[in-house]
């Protein structure tokens, strides 16, 4: 079963807000100068910001903010966020792989930006009964 795709817009303002809320002030997430100095195409989103958006999709699908039992991802490609009003977009989709006997649902998740996968091995186990 496929779950409805969630689309999240990501702008520089979102990265600044996430930096402040999370305490991750690595300059590659807000300075083009520093990002390009280390060989990136420009400012990139925090990997943990992308994972947090995926977490939003997962809790949304579960219908409960406290339903996640296990959640893991591998970061494979940076999410480049241009300094424009539009920024970029992350699309998150998932398929239900399994529903276990004890009421847990296993999801295989896909996250893309500009048509390219940005995560691999993205999986969540959620409680679907209370």
């Amino acid at each position: 079963m496929e779950l409805p795709t969630q689309t999240y817009r990501v702008t520089r303002a979102d990265l600044v807000r996430y930096a402040g809320a999370s305490g991750d002030f690595n300059r590659i997430h807000w300075s083009d100068r520093v990002a390009t100095d280390v060989g990136l195409p420009g400012v990139i989103a925090h990997g943990m910001f992308t994972m947090a958006l995926v977490g939003r999709a997962v809790t949304g699908w579960a219908g409960a903010p406290d339903a996640v039992v296990d959640f893991g991802v591998r970061f494979t490609r940076p999410v480049v966020v241009p300094d424009t009003d539009e920024g970029t977009e992350i699309e998150v989709s998932a398929v239900v792989k399994e529903v276990t006997e004890d009421g847990l649902t296993r999801l295989d998740i896909t996250a893309t930006c500009q048509g390219e996968k940005v995560l691999s091995q993205a999986r969540a186990l959620i409680r679907t009964t209370r």
Partner: protein
Amino acid sequence: MSLDPSFVGRTYPPTAPYQVGREKIREFATAIGATDPAHHDPEAARSLGHADVVAPPTFPVLVTMAASRQIVEDPALGVDYSRVVHGDQRFAYTRPVVAGDELVCVSTIEEVTTRGGHGFLTTRTDVSTVDGEPVVAVWSKIVVRGEA
């Protein structure tokens, strides 16, 4: 970058307790656009059986930051932080983090490998309350990129 494999199995001392604040959870939820009332309204959280507002699933990274720093800044291990890239991240929850929790982290180095000139370091951080109740286990793999 070559990391010393003899660090596998090393456990670091518990971190100072992290006090999970209601406003911090609200601020974090707002920053990621998480609007579920249970992240913001204590009454909504209580109706789900929690003592106070519930943190979003990736919130524990704020709690484990000090523990990660212990390892990455361990001079004996010698990680060059400017070359660090986040590889993998995983959370296995006993229960969600809620406001009012006082959380302590104990980190263990699970894996150290070198491949293609890059170093790979996997740490497991067990997050529990100051009373010893387990809350979440957090795995993080970092890649220390070799000199090109």
